[in-house]
């Protein structure tokens, strides 16, 4: 039975960074991922990473932009840490080999990004996340102290007799064998849950596994209603067109040829924060000024062609391959689409969840540094800063303690559960049917504009699907690469996530950041400048509690762009 001081689940940027930091802290480390690490969804973060590294810039300015972007729901102590530590992290990555764009003097060069008062986004063409992910993986290949479990699917966390998290049950996808991996600390870095929406920019693997596992283990989920709709996604399949396009000068037009952002954000225009731009687009579309396919137009031809080819190469490919559009010559049709969850497993600035032995970092975690709305190019930063902090903290904690002994019967229970799904008769609904209904429901009733009626309907649907998933039917009876059975497990994780998102959205009776309630259209600081925490209670719906938002130096103000 393998043992590690620190076990990291998920091998995107947060997970890899955590593993490297823990190994540097002297810990023996295991890192598990249900896909090969370089397939992780951090790849998709195209535009860049924010840091106040220029001498004219300041971390305070970065922090203020982040606080304002969060619609004041961000915790300012955590935001301060993130923005203060950002420059050193970017330099560290540069030293490891990330091929950041340079200016004419050969120094790190920046691009502009949404919601930011200075150009402080460092980037590698429009493959920044990919470049970071692959460079960190180079370091993983270099480090012998890190054991990699690639293509292992984690099904549950395990505890020791004191109730401390002591490892995880995991299934080797290649042969179907199970293993309990024991660890002094477990860091969840499993990313977001965009697959519960259809369409989404998120990869097929983004099914909220870690969020659901932590929730089931008793960790509170915070601000789950805060789901970001990105302003520029392709209609239909939902693929992302990077905000870098607008950072480079691309403009938005409605079907009447009007540059409509003038009405909504006269000073920042297309570079207002994402919630603002997405609402503006959705308003134009809903009021009949969109194109017949339910979109508005993003005109990237405003950017010089050579610059596009150099700095926005990836979206040239996306436009060509997935929309049949040459973005260097014509506008491309886009709409707001599900992109990111600001909420997640509640953690402190060291990644601790409050459940002993359990940490979380990256998109699955919620400190909260993003509050009601995440700024572009802050997600890569979040993963790296808090991945590192969680890894380092877990390594230090681990040094002082003995290896725990998993107490429970989780292994047997999980094996039985999976065997049960595999051998079940095929009378139930298919995984794909339930997933499709969930996705359509969430996109229709829990997206840019929300109200109580639609949310109640969505909750009902989710509850029904939770029952149906108990008898879901699959085809694959084998052990080797049985992706079918994993799909059934992911679907259960997704439904837990969906329930909490809808619950949070129902609970927050105000409009703030990504949460816009047409029945409560104003922000209400008096009642709702607070986090919503959801905890599993064994009953029909989770327990709701609240926690204070930490304010340090910025008092809530009206938000204008």
């Amino acid at each position: 039975m393998p043992q590690h001081d620190v076990l990291v689940i998920g091998a995107g940027l947060a997970g890899q960074r955590a593993a490297l930091a823990a190994a540097e802290g002297g810990a023996s480390v295991g890192i598990i991922s249900k896909v090969h690490p370089v397939r992780s969804h951090s790849n998709a973060a195209a535009g860049g990473i924010n840091a106040a590294l220029n001498v004219e810039d300041s971390w305070e300015s970065h922090a203020y932009d982040t606080v304002k972007g969060s619609d004041y729901l961000g915790d300012q102590d955590a935001i301060e840490i993130m923005c203060r530590e950002a420059p050193d992290e970017v330099l560290h990555l540069e030293h490891l080999g990330v091929t950041f764009h340079r200016d004419d003097e050969g120094r790190l060069g920046t691009r502009a990004f949404g919601g930011a008062s200075a150009a402080r986004t460092y980037y590698v063409a429009d493959i920044t996340g990919q470049a970071l992910l692959h460079v960190l993986y180079e370091q993983l290949m270099k480090f012998d102290a890190i054991d990699r479990y690639e293509e292992w699917f984690t099904t549950a966390l395990v505890r020791d007799e004191s109730g401390r998290i002591a490892g995880a049950v995991t299934r080797n996808i290649r042969d179907g064998s199970f293993e309990v991996i024991t660890a002094k600390a477990v860091i969840l870095a499993t990313g977001g849950n965009g697959q519960i929406f259809d369409p989404t920019t998120n990869a097929l693997i983004c099914t909220g596994d870690g969020i659901a596992m932590a929730y089931r283990a008793g960790a509170p989920l915070m601000d789950m209603e805060m789901v970001q709709y990105h302003p520029t996604t392709l209609a239909g399949i939902g693929l992302l067109i990077t905000e870098g396009a607008r950072g480079e000068g691309a403009q938005l037009y409605n079907a009447e040829g009007e540059r409509f952002m003038e009405k909504y954000a006269p000073s920042k225009m297309e570079l207002a924060s994402r919630d603002v731009v997405s609402r503006a687009e959705q308003t134009e579309i809903d009021e009949g000024r969109g194109f017949p396919d339910g979109t508005v137009a993003l005109d990237i031809t405003k950017v010089p062609r050579a610059r596009i080819l150099q700095a926005l190469r990836e979206i040239v490919n996306v436009g060509r391959d997935f929309a049949g559009t040459d973005i260097t010559r014509e506008p491309i049709h886009i709409k707001p689409g599900n992109h990111y969850v600001m909420g997640g497993i509640r953690t402190d600035v060291n990644g601790e969840t409050g459940v002993p032995g359990l940490y979380a970092a990256g998109e699955c975690a919620c400190l909260s540094v993003h509050g009601g709305n995440r700024l572009g190019a802050n997600s890569l930063l979040d993963t790296l800063i808090f991945g590192r902090r969680a890894g380092a903290h877990a390594a230090t904690e681990g040094r002082a303690m003995a290896m725990p002994k998993p107490a429970g019967s989780e292994l047997g229970r999980e094996q039985e559960l999976i065997a049960g799904i595999i051998s079940r008769d095929r009378s139930g609904r298919r995984v794909s049917e339930i997933k499709a209904e969930l996705g359509k429901t969430m996109d229709a009733d829990c997206s840019v504009f929300r109200d109580e009626n639609r949310l109640r309907g969505a909750l009902e649907t989710v509850k029904r699907l939770q029952e149906e998933v108990e008898t879901v039917s699959i085809d694959d009876r084998g052990s080797v690469f049985n992706q079918d059975v994993l799909g059934a497990l992911e679907l259960k994780f997704m439904l837990d996530n969906a329930e909490c998102i809808v619950m949070g959205a129902l609970e927050r009776r105000e409009s703030r950041g990504a949460q816009y309630r047409t029945d409560f259209p104003e922000r209400n600081d008096e009642q709702w400048l607070k986090h919503i925490n959801l905890t599993v209670n064994g009953g029909d719906i989770p327990d709701v509690s609240y926690s204070e938002v930490t304010l340090t130096q910025w008092e809530p103000e009206e938000r204008k762009y």
Binding site: T99, G106, T110, I127, H134, M141, E248, E314, D475, V480
Partner: protein, 365 residues
């Protein structure tokens, strides 16, 4: 509007007694959707046991490389209508990548081949000395240049298509060598010469590539692995004059010298010049080369037999009628101080007609 397509999927289940076989499935999809969408529709509606790696659906994660109508590609960025057209009325065939063992259906063992080769090239930056306080100051163009190989998503399509790998399983291969260039071309790396020497001396290294262009054709990210291999060779020969035991150095120079002299390839001159660093007439100059030249005799004999080389051709090879023009090109290139290397990010054609295009887009902020 959805249209009907037929996928012919190569199935293999290691847990079954059945051997690998083909299975046809019908799908209904909009023509602009991808082959991956087709495979997923089959999985969703008909047979969930089909195994395929996939994640991002956007050509970024590199999971879903397969062979479509025999050609290695990402299933997610191959349009199903294009694939159907290329299949020419027959079903679209979808099978696992080549050059790697199949684990189940469309899934191959990339660890056993691809990742092993990546590990072979010491795939991490090895800078000299301590890191600077701030960033390394490096030429902007150099960073853009290595970004072409950074654009590699490790999908394995080039490994699957590589003809040299089919013959020599130990060939380091296109993906790993492109990865190697990512460090060799990186001015921050302190082991440039060591890396080049290692890959030049390895009999399965940079000189094992046969210039077939297959990797360039199939690469979904325009990494052009073969171009990166050629860059490694140019760095090894022109910048570091690494005279390797594979005679890659000699061979490279022989080609260039022959073209400069005759304009077209003088086959009979190639081997003696490659191995001996001298012409056939002048004889061999390096003692060790005699043995190697003798080892190439079967090749020469095959050439004679096929008519590629004839006694007459050995003795005389016609120059191009306008060989002077070829010479002028050589003169022009020799007169340049620096070698000009273009890649997908550095595109000469546009830089000139759109002035200021290279300037920072964020200057106004």
């Amino acid at each position: 509007m959805p249209e009907s397509y037929t996928l012919n999927i190569r199935r293999y289940d290691p847990e079954s007694t059945e051997t690998a076989h083909w299975q046809e499935f019908g799908v209904e999809l909009d023509p602009e959707r991808s082959v991956l969408d087709g495979i997923l529709q089959v999985k969703d509606r008909e047979d969930g046991s089909i195994a395929v790696r996939c994640s991002c659906r956007a050509g970024i994660c590199g999971s879903c490389a397969v062979r479509i109508n025999g050609r290695s590609a990402l299933a997610c960025n191959t349009r199903i209508s294009d694939a159907a057209r290329k299949a020419g009325g027959k079903p679209i065939s979808v099978e696992p990548m080549g050059n790697m063992p199949v684990l189940k259906d469309l899934i191959v063992d990339m660890d056993a081949v691809h990742w092993k080769k990546i590990q072979r090239v010491v795939p991490w930056l090895l800078p000299d000395g301590e890191a600077p306080e701030r960033e390394y100051i490096v030429d902007a163009e150099a960073m853009i240049d290595v970004t072409q190989s950074m654009a590699c998503i490790q999908c394995g399509a080039c490994v699957s298509a590589c003809l040299a790998l089919e013959v020599d399983r130990d060939f380091v291969g296109p993906a790993a060598l492109a990865k190697a260039y990512r460090f060799v071309g990186d001015p921050r790396d302190g082991q440039t010469e060591e890396r080049l020497r290692d890959l030049a001396e390895d009999p399965h290294g940079i000189y094992d590539c046969t210039h077939c262009f297959a990797c360039i054709e199939v690469c979904p990210k325009d990494v052009a692995p073969m171009d990166q291999i050629m860059r490694l060779r140019r760095r090894a020969t022109a910048d570091f004059a690494i005279k390797d035991k594979n005679n890659g150095y000699g061979h490279e120079h022989a080609f260039v010298d022959i073209i400069e002299k005759w304009g077209t390839l003088h086959e009979a001159q190639l081997l003696p010049r490659s191995f001996g660093d001298g012409s056939l007439v002048r004889g061999q100059t390096e003692p060790g080369a005699v043995k190697q030249l003798l080892e190439t005799l079967p090749t020469a004999l095959r050439g004679l037999k096929s008519g590629k080389v004839s006694p007459k051709k050995v003795l005389s090879h016609p120059k191009l009628p306008d060989q002077d023009q070829v010479r002028r090109i050589f003169k022009e290139i020799h007169s340049k101080d620096e070698r000009l290397e273009l890649n997908m990010y550095i595109v000469g054609e546009n830089a000139e007609d759109e002035e200021g295009a290279q300037a920072e887009g964020s200057g106004e902020m």
